[in-house]
Amino acid sequence: MSVINYANRVIDFKIVYYGPGLAGKTANLQYIYRSLPNANRGNMISLATGDDRTIYFDFLPVSALTVRGFQTRFQLYTVPGQVQYNATRRLVLRGADGLVFVADSQFERLRENVESFRNLEANLHEYESTLDEIPYVLQYNKRDLPNQAPVTYLEFVLNRRGARVPYFEASAIEGKGVFDTLNTVSRMALASEFGVGRERRHEVS
């Protein structure tokens, strides 16, 4: 969870990108890394297999606004999406202050999206936490591909908990929707530290 340090006036947050394998979690971080100036980001670390599949996590620290005298920093992680890596996926989830669920918009991946979302809920349960407690957004990625499911259908399948959350259409490989997603989840994580986390109840138009 967040670390508030009065000695150096910094607040650190952990944001985890979750979702099925090959949904584009790593592509999100790679685009952010390429787009931000050096002053706003650290080194990107990718623990991947020889064929570039994430085996443990990707990691990218980015710095952001100063709020009420505290500099805010966000540490972005991805989890390995492949089903067999659940043990490491659960470890990366530890202490998350915000979540991005990256769904693959293609029709044939709908089932894997749903299974990954259920897996997220189950892994949070292991930490005695739920999606009611952690700010999160949905990103419907790969909107550039021809066999995409309609957003209304993805919403029906994935955004159906008590309080609907913000969602974003994206093509992470082209950068579309990547910063909208990051800005919103980071703002929600930040807001949850101050007063009542208003955007947790954000109405989606």
């Binding site: 340090n5 009065y6 931000l36 670390i45 709020v67 540490q75 202490g95 703002r187 807001a191 101050f194």
Partner: protein
Amino acid sequence: MKSRNTIIQQQDAARIHEILTHFLNDSSAVEALLIDRGGQLLARDGDAEALDAVSICALAAAAFSSTAAMAQLLGEPEFSVLFHEGAKRSLHVSTVDDESILLAIFDQRTTIGMVRLFAGEASRAVGAVLGEARARPKPAAEFAAPLKDTEARQAWTPPS
């Protein structure tokens, strides 16, 4: 277990600094990093200024969590120490409490035995400070009022 926010006040930071300084003097280690098990840096002390501490913290927390998971597969609660030996520099990671770990970087000027001995003492002392810090309520001054829209503006601008 459920993670909790950590709020380090000035007086906590000063006490932790004192403990880590003693640890470095006693053990002759080069650098000490106090790390939240989620991978966040809580405090650091030492001479390795050029170190990419943020990345080291993320990787060390992940490695320590992995070994803890392996320990559980063997029926152990966790392995309390993780040690990596390099040609010039080595890493020693040990448990502070359920939510944090202490990483020490050391070289040929000392030994794993010395580091391990004094890391145990430092961990107990720093664990007590963190326990007090976590038990304290969040300070109202800066955090009581909700963020205004002007404060919670867009953090990053996408490239055009």
